[in-house]
């Protein structure tokens, strides 16, 4: 077998792998109106995990801007999350977490589940959403429990 022939199968295998990898990384959702009716994952969101993502600096770091029930330190840039589960449906919450610019193009809120159409993303974060699909579902599950406006 010549060298040329050895390279072709190697490329084919690489291509196959890169497609699998690309599928694993693909960040997609279907918005209907101001909502994403369909969950991003088959595993239901876990509200307890969602809460820790919301308040954690390594997670969503939502307290930088939003008041969050049960948290003492928070920013005042964005509306309180208290009662957000009564104001919005889970499907509406899902779109606002995934890509808030779909609701308000001028919002300062980062799009947590989006990799396309961004400019000058640092190499280490390129092609990666801020939160994984499961993390978005977890956050939505917890936000949906916040029914009381304090």
């Amino acid at each position: 077998m010549t060298r040329k022939h050895a390279v072709a199968p190697a490329i084919a295998i690489l291509l196959a792998y890169s497609q699998v990898w690309a599928q694993g990384e693909s960040v997609r959702f279907e918005a209907v109106g101001d909502a994403i009716p369909r969950a991003l994952t088959s595993e239901p969101g876990n509200a307890a995990r969602g809460r820790s993502i919301v308040v954690n600096r390594d997670g969503g770091a939502c307290t930088l801007c939003h008041a969050v029930p049960g948290e003492k330190n928070f920013g005042n840039i964005a509306p309180t999350l208290a009662g957000v589960g009564a104001r919005l449906s889970p499907a509406q919450l899902r779109l606002r977490v995934a890509d808030s610019t779909r609701v308000n193009p001028d919002t300062p809120m980062p799009a947590y589940y989006r990799t396309e159409g961004l400019n000058q993303v640092a190499a280490a974060f390129r092609g990666k959403p801020l939160l994984s699909a499961q993390q978005v579902e977890d956050v939505v599950a917890w936000l949906a429990t916040l029914k009381e406006a304090q």
Binding site: N73, A111, N119, V121
Partner: protein, 260 residues
Amino acid sequence: MRRARARLALAAAALAAGVVLAQERAIPPGELKSGSVFLGSDLRALQNDDFANPGMLWVERGERLWSELAGKKTLACASCHKDTSMRGVAASYPKIDKASGKLVNLEDRINLCRTGRMDAEPLRYESEELLALTAYVARQSLGLPIATRIDGAARAHFEAGRAAYHLRRGQMNLSCAHCHDAQWGKRLLSETISQGHPNAYPAYRMEWQTIGSLQRRIRACLSGIRAEMLPYGSPEYLDLELYLAWRAQGLPIETPGVRR
């Protein structure tokens, strides 16, 4: 009489241009607030005390360097700038360098003197020497309002700077304007967002535990929103510096500022 009328027409045109520019400003001149306004009283006091302000160490070092001979021509800055004060110079930067037609900031101007007049090596961005000289020159404009020009060849740089300022970027998808025009005065967790003005730079930042340039500060914001950082001295940073100077026009220079 004719001359007076021509002058009047010119003044009217300038006024009209001024009105147009004023309308473009997200923060009107009356509402401009230096970053020191958003500091705690302890840091503000530190900045205002010349003996305690840590940035003054670099100003003093810059003063020594000003008279130090360098380069193949064994010249010092002071060899040419003998009796002339540098007061007011920093307030006009960034500006177009007449010789090259390029937009330069104060750091670039110092290096242009070194390479062009002294036949010396340029100083590296963020080197102690360049920070010291820049701080020393800028300090001499203490209290003077920023007065950068954006006409002529500077106009295209100004427009590019404005575009850069308003470009959403990074994984966080934020532009400078999203925080520093629309949210200043509000709290990001426990930190109050400033208007993002350049009038205190080079400034001593507690987070750095040293003095740093305006470009280093811009890069810190970019890193925070997980955006690409360009090399120091990149044209986009210079354009942005010009836009920042324009939107801060009228604010007094505070170099060396003290910041969080």
